[in-house]
Amino acid sequence: MQFGILINEGPYSHQASDSAYLFARTALEKGYKVPRVFFYHDGVYNASRLATPPVDDRNVGARWSKLAADYGVDLVVCVAAAQRRGITDGVLGDNYRISGLGQLVEMGIQYDRLVTFGD
């Protein structure tokens, strides 16, 4: 079973990225595949390496980076949404990349399930 994940909200202001992370991590731990996570709308803010949350809290963007490193998850940030919001290659965290909406559509075509997190 391959899951594609779509995240439509920014970190901290909304549970979407947290819920998606817990879903993805659990799926991977149980042996399912999560080949790609796509960040859209304000979800692109998850990818900023400039975020420095208090040390007694989770780092939403960084833990996606680690999950990507541990399991080879492809973290894709929508280029059009990113340009609107000032997210550029220069501010991307580790293992994120910027690409087009075609990467989202491909998840829908190729994977067994596409799961959306957001309002």
Binding site: L6, N8, Y40, H41, D42, A80, A81, G100, L101, G102, L104, V105, E106, G108, I109, Q110, L114, T116, D119
Partner: protein
């Protein structure tokens, strides 16, 4: 075939994609950015349906003028959908009734569905993306 079938994931698979539009057009960015995904999906030659429900029905109303709120007016894009072979447009009857709207108030031709009909249509889909 689509007029802009320049995109291909190489699999030849055609799935049923439904885009569920639930929000008013200008208060949040979902409608505008959602449309971009719809167009790209059509460019991949997928079987695209669009549903407008809840405040999403306001995306299709006639007489939109965004000058006063100084945001982009993208309502023309809905009229252009036909050119991308996106012709399956559905609105939810209950959402229309609750807002005092009829098909006459909308800028494009739509099929009005009851809740049961909508549920059946959703059950047929491979991918449902909600904005």
């Amino acid at each position: 075939m689509s007029e802009m079938d320049d995109m291909d994931d190489g699999s030849g698979i055609i799935k049923k994609f439904m885009f569920l539009n639930r929000k008013a057009p200008h208060g949040t960015v979902y409608a505008l950015e959602g449309l971009e995904v719809v167009l790209i999906t059509a460019a991949f030659d997928q079987d695209v349906s669009m549903v407008f429900t809840d405040d999403g029905v306001y995306q299709l109303i006639k007489g939109v003028d965004t000058k006063g709120i100084e945001v982009k007016d993208f309502s023309r894009t809905y009229r252009a959908l036909e050119g991308y072979d996106i012709e399956k447009l559905y609105v939810d009857q209950k959402s229309m009734d609750a807002r005092g709207l009829t098909e006459e108030d909308l800028i494009v031709d739509v099929t009005v569905l009851s809740v049961d009909e909508m549920a059946n249509l959703m059950a047929e889909q491979d991918v449902v993306i909600s904005f």
